[in-house]
Amino acid sequence: MMNLRVAWKPMIKQILKFLFLFLFFLIFPSLDLQAYQRIISLKPNITEILFSLGLEDEIIAVTRYCDFPKQAQQKEKVADFIQIDVERIIALKPDLILSSKENSVKKSYRLLKERGLEIHFFDFGNFENTLKSIRDISALLKRKQQADKLIHDLESRLASLQTQNSNSKKRVLFLVGHYPLMAAGSDNYFSEAARWLNIENVTGETQLKYIKLTTEHLVTLKPDIIFDLSMGKEKYAELKRLNYFQSVPAVKNNKIYKLPIELFRGSFRLVEGYERIASYLLQ
């Protein structure tokens, strides 16, 4: 009897504790607190997307190449284009890591997974998949409304491009590298530009996303316009050699334009990239 009577007090304490926890978990989700507080983005385009969704404060680390928006550069850097700094990432104790399926070294990601960290990979291979990935990211981070609004905005801007450009079909080459010459093939942001702009990608019927070109091949493709997306800082430095090939319309009419490849990372800035292309088409 004595024992039972004494045990009442802690029991009430227990019940109160339980009630408190119960109430807490009942209220917590409806407060809509951000589930993830420490996010690491391992790709520049993901960083851009997170900033667009207004998640600036939740990002704790980014890559060396995350230069947009400007504030992204102030975040800690834990990766370059392909390699990631596993030690630093573990030390930062993130609750979410976001990366892309392309250009990721599997070995180092396996290490992170083994540490029990939550990693999500998204596909930014082409336009459709990019939109899907943006939706997935926003769902994961509970920013669906913002994302829907931004995507709607993007789509309407693209639709207006479609009506703008209805003049004759231009043959376009998208150069993405000089050493060796690399051009956009099919199923990527550049080949998909044809959907909204009245252009034809000269590398046409290939299976590859990006193809190696030889100078000879480039000359015989006879593009009307060449967009140079290579990363070299000097404008056209390596394309000077093309001046010999006056039988190429783009060379003859001096229609070689430099486009910043950053616009085609796979973020909301894609539409800006397409608008740039459209403006050059009108010239």
């Binding site: 060796p180 190696k212 030889t214 000879e216 290579s230 050699r241 090939f245 039988s247």
Partner: protein, 336 residues
């Protein structure tokens, strides 16, 4: 002076024949390629695609291949004579590697092409000195130490180049990588002309010493007693060949084994009289590299690959087994 069984007429006749083959193969290889070109278009219509491809894509490449092939083979002959060692080759010894390191260094400092060439030349000479100093043992130059030195020197320079490669920007890294595997594509006529001038000057100097090279290959003492000045001679051959190799590497990158493969083929054909061997190897080396480069740019052009392999890969694939053959040949059998 050494006597040979060749008469002057036969000698000149043979070289003339090689010259003809050289011109013919440059011509044929320039016509052969991914796009089939029509001869009438090339000559008559200067605004046609065929004309432009022939004169601005194919011809510079074939010319450069010829020049580089000449320089590497003649360099091989002179190194083999200089070190009195049949396995000496600019690539195996590490001289090419040293030159590549110099030019990569100059390239990453964004120097103009002439400085890059000079840096390649300087580092070629420097590496030659270093290799000689490391490998020589009591005044001798044993084969195994020389090869080992080459291996170590090569891996050291390659590591240095890879270091620059990792520090360089994305676009530049590709360029450095191309230098490592050797490529003759996309050069301007001005660069080719500059290298050609340097190579021709060096070849001219070397051709003047061919008779003395014969003496030198008998050994220093013998050469001296036969009236040559070995020290002066060595210095001359040394500088001329390093200049040539440096110039080529700065433009074409590392194309290996040509300096080994070609001279030995030539020795099998015409013997080891340097008066004939050196010009013969030079011409044959040019022909060899022109064909090798043509093969490298056309072999994998079928639909499933659509790519050109670097010519350095092809020469190494041929040269590697050949090197093993040379090494495993019966001892006692004269290599010269």
């Amino acid at each position: 002076m050494l006597r040979t069984h060749f008469s002057l007429r036969k000698l000149l006749g043979f070289l003339f024949l090689l010259c003809l083959v050289y011109l013919l193969s440059s011509f044929l290889c320039a016509l052969w390629g991914e796009q089939s070109l029509s001869w009438t278009n090339i000559l008559q219509d200067s605004s046609s695609t065929d004309h432009e491809i022939f004169f601005y894509s194919r011809l510079p490449r074939v010319l450069l291949a010829g020049i580089v092939g000449m320089a590497l083979s003649a360099g091989g002959v002179s190194f083999q004579c200089l070190l009195r060692n049949p396995l000496a080759d600019p690539f195996i010894l590490g001289v090419s590697g040293g030159a590549a390191l110099g030019s990569v260094l100059a390239m990453s400092l964004k120097m103009p092409f002439i400085i890059v060439t000079m840096a390649a030349f300087a580092s070629a000479i420097l590496s030659m000195f270093l290799i000689y100093w490391i490998a020589s043992y009591r005044g001798n130059l044993p084969v195994h130490t020389l090869l080992l030195t080459g291996v170590i020197f090569n891996s050291f320079t390659f590591s240095m180049i890879m270091l620059f490669n990792s520090l360089a920007s994305f676009e530049e890294a590709h360029r450095i990588w191309y230098m490592m595997v050797g490529s003759l594509a996309n050069e301007s006529y001005t660069n080719i002309a500059l290298v050609a001038v340097l190579v021709v000057t060096s070849l001219f100097i070397l051709f003047q010493t061919t008779a003395d090279m014969n003496l030198l290959s008998l050994g220093e003492e013998n050469a001296q007693s036969l009236g040559a000045d070995p020290k002066k001679l060595r210095r001359r051959i040394f500088f001329a060949s390093s200049l040539m190799i440096g110039a080529c590497v700065s433009l074409s990158g590392l194309i290996g084994f040509v300096g080994l493969f070609v001279p030995h083929m030539m020795r099998l054909l015409i013997g080891s009289d340097h008066r004939l061997l050196l010009p013969g190897s030079a011409l044959f080396g040019g022909i060899f590299l022109i064909f090798a480069d043509t093969a490298s740019r056309t072999l994998f052009m079928s639909d499933s690959y659509q790519t050109q392999i670097p010519v350095g890969v092809l020469t190494a694939l041929l040269g590697g087994p050949f090197f093993v053959y040379l090494l495993k040949r019966k001892r006692g059998q004269a290599l010269w």
